[in-house]
């Protein structure tokens, strides 16, 4: 269960109505890189309403270069950074997912996990759906398209129906050729915030990406809410009557960057406060406080402040550890 939860660290970013949207998304994903290093991708909508995608295994700076980023035109885009999972995945599971459809192509990114994925997948496949990946995230797209709808019926209705079928923790972005939908699960387990650049909007898993792209924080997407962004501006709908604020504790403790605000609380302050509480609850006999880089440094400083003990830098982390680190041979391991 816990390992499942941990696998669901990922980052999503979206841009509506901002020139060079793919480039803005590139910087946004780079600020979210700590949420996933296995792979990443961006889909943008060009002036002809066509969706184009670049994705790959590796860091944002490894997958994108001036040439392929320059091929993603337009002022709408969504992107994703994927967490490194053991054995799973490969390029097929790297998002955004892109679907071709006679009613309009669309793209999708997801942070979270679907608890009833096996059941939904079987339900869909028994009715003829074919999946291109092993990822839970693809399920929403198939659910949206499953029930034949009248041609002129707004797409928001099948989306809301689909969201009510999915149990789990999620933040989704769905992009058509002129609109972005943004939604969070009804428990509010995964974060998703709205920012503004001029007359356009950005969406991000964490607020730390806003300052990087020059965006101003507007508000969080609410639990159980679907946001629609298009030339009418932002519209909001609740797809579920049940709504709670139960942000996953791992976001505060481990996933998020200290300079992000999650549901109005700064992550660093939260961690520091935790350190103070830890001291009050269980003070041990010690001479010194040493934080384990990077996520527990804030808590260590809180503990030190509350206890009056000196906080010392006892562990140094190599800043250049990356995905492609070559595994040591047995001789090296024995040596080390």
């Amino acid at each position: 269960m816990f390992s499942k939860e941990l696998k669901e660290e990922c980052g999503v970013f979206g841009v509506w109505g901002v020139p060079h949207a793919a480039e803005v998304t590139y910087y946004g994903l780079h600020a979210l890189q700590h949420r996933g290093q296995e792979g990443c991708g961006i889909v943008s909508v060009n002036d002809n309403g066509e969706l184009h995608r670049v994705k790959g295994l590796g860091l944002v700076t490894e997958v994108f270069n001036s040439e392929n980023l320059g091929s993603l035109h337009g002022d709408m885009a969504i992107g994703h950074v994927r967490y490194s999972t053991h054995g799973g995945g490969g390029i097929e599971n790297v998002q955004p997912f892109l679907f071709k459809h006679n009613t309009g192509d669309f793209a999708l990114v997801h942070n979270g996990n679907v608890v009833n994925s096996a059941q939904l997948r079987k339900y869909l496949e028994d009715r003829g759906s074919l999946f291109q990946s092993t990822s839970d995230s693809e399920i929403l797209a198939h659910l949206i398209k499953k029930e034949p709808v009248e041609r002129n019926s707004p797409r928001i209705y099948p989306i809301m129906e689909a969201l009510n079928m999915i149990e789990g923790a999620f933040a989704f972005l769905v992009m058509t050729n002129h609109r972005i939908y943004a939604m969070r699960d009804k428990y509010g387990l995964r974060p998703l915030s709205i920012g503004r650049i001029g007359d356009g909007y950005v969406l991000s898993s964490e607020t730390c990406a806003f300052s990087v792209v020059g965006a101003e924080f507007v508000r969080d997407v609410e639990p159980g809410e679907v946001i629609t962004i298009d030339h009418h501006g932002i519209r909001s709908r609740k797809y579920s009557d049940y709504q709670r604020h139960a942000m996953c504790a791992m976001e505060y403790i481990y996933f998020s960057r200290p300079d992000s605000d999650i549901e109005g609380r700064n992550v660093h302050s939260f961690r520091k406060e935790s350190g103070k509480i830890l001291y009050r609850e269980s003070h041990v006999d010690a001479d010194i406080v040493v934080g384990v880089p990077d996520s527990s440094l804030s808590a260590a400083s809180g503990y030190a402040e509350a206890s009056g003990l000196p906080s010392e830098m006892g562990l140094i982390k190599n800043r250049y550890i990356g995905r492609t680190f070559i595994q040591p041979s047995q001789e090296m391991r024995d040596k080390g």
Copy 2:
């Protein structure tokens, strides 16, 4: 019409029951490289029954290397070389297509074109199918899975039904985790031949790939036939009562390699004979016969032989023209 037809040059290759099947497929695809240079890919089935894929844009020698080819284990594989189309495609359209399904994953490759693709696609999408590409080739997979079948019903029946819904020219290979299906359209417009290596089998768009991998020619797949290869050996079924031999003339004239035999006729001999007939039908006043490399060299030699005129090498083709040739700037073009 003609340009459509020309786009449908592609090559398929399959291996059943031969060690290092992906490597054998690599050599097979290399021998079929003249049928498509835009992209290529291979899916193999490893000992655990899992399907793994490597695909990319570029020539066989560009997409594959020792490392990624070495990651494709097992004694079953299918592969594809894709023709270069103008503006279309991208990596999404590069085959094999790979589908994840609770009843067993499967892969598919296709050479040909589906005449009623727009209708079939709309039919499928209206019933909830989501396509991952703009390629016609994906349609067969969705058709096979569309109708819910009883669990223990053999997969061959939905395949035969699906084939009867598709109008067009095609050679398909479908691979599950223990079986390969090979099928040709009922007009016999696209070639597909069966070869044997030891106790195993190979399938190829052209026979010129057989000698490269040490395979012995067995026979052609017949128009309207579905071949099933598994541990029972080869079984044959006719999915249509209508069967004709109407091989696309472009195969003889342009697509195929001169050392291939298509439906029992050697391509070089066919082209040479055409040259002789051309002379008899329309002899012009000439001093010399010059073939345009590469496909008309055989015809030119036939024309020369029939006419008694000398055949001369008047045009030389750079042997190193490849996909990644940098486009000349306007200055260069004006100069050239």
Copy 3:
């Protein structure tokens, strides 16, 4: 001796006074690709008189792309394609060689072999020269710089002295920041021709590259001649009194492309004539003439014409064989 000779197939190309010189060189090298597939490189001189280089292992289309070719500015450039040698080399031996010097940086390319290289190298190293490669070609550069010359003395004198120390077959291009020197050995063993584009010049191992870049043939560099090209135009000097025309027979038989003219003779015509002579000297009892692609096709057609026997295409060469072909495993070899 013969294997040594064969290793010395390479191609050189130079451009003086033509806009986008690196791009022109790229097309020139592509036309000379048959002379060497192991590696290639280009050095150009930008408007500030700086020499920049791109080089790598692989074909011209593999080493160069829009980005790195676009980084080579200016209207002067030299380039090289290197023949694939067994075991030797690596990137250090890929040309052009580039030397940094307080009297002006310079670059050098070479086709040929230096017979007295071991002696010259020892002579130079004993006097403090340090080589960056194992290639004979680097020797000329060290010889030119060995003897301290008066500052204002023209560079042509040490070049001429150095050429007189080198025994062997060669065509050299040396480029400074405003001038190109072109030279052939006194026996005329390696080809080198001059072409013209507008007010600028090109130099090429073979004339087949001229039409590709829109150049007009001017004349061959003569055996024992040094050509200087700069804003004064072309100047000629003889560095040796001994001059012969003894073009290496391998150029006609094997190295060169059939559509090149070498010392005024077309290569295809030469090969065809050889085939006729072969028939006259040694007619064997045969039904058919089959050329081995690619270099003996011309000779086969000559033999057929002289003998009256039919010329037949009995062997087909895969047009996509390239450098990076993965070596078959033993199982594959046994099979094939």
Copy 4:
């Protein structure tokens, strides 16, 4: 002056007598990555006494992969990480430098700068030396080889003479096919330490790399000392009578990693102590102490400890900033 000094941050690492020496060097360079991110390289000596090199632009994890690292055999190796300079360099300046010579090939790496490089370079070039790079570091190699020595005279003498001609800050490693020489300038401006693994030795710019490869600290190379490591073990010579300990202050303040010991002092402790002194010398009226990541965090904690002020994490550094970051367009810059 200062910018010159800053450019001279680089890291060197060497291994003698340890199996898989190139792999050990890879881990060593990775631990020194903070000293240079522009490029890196390794030369190893295989069992036949041949020197092979892999180098490239980028981080250690970008330049090396299992394949190219696996090609570097043997139990001796030296490596280098190069600092990112503005506009300078390119691949030619990436070390190790490798020289081919009839008396034995050799390789060289350098951390530091040569103050009298212009004079030495002119002296050498006037006597026929040809440089392959614009780097000062190449000068030592040419100096060593400049004066013709008797064949059987030990190489240590020309090395000691050469070191006396160079003015500046340096740590050099020179590797022949059976020996490594390690040397520091007589002022001791650049650090270089000796470690031991079993019967073998390692050399590193900083001690933080020792624990990573399982080496035990032995001692520093002394100012003005040349260390020779071969099958006789370690031998020491002083090449200069003048010797000082004047370690560059930037090593303590900025270049080195906090967990390294430089000349017996831990870098973190040194920085922290500096923070305390800073408080004592100049206490300002403040509520909080905020360190600028990464190098001033230690000093900030010292200042906080001495002042009793709270130390707060006010600035977060993106851990994924790397070399290949795409430069923002003007629109993005205006936005940010």
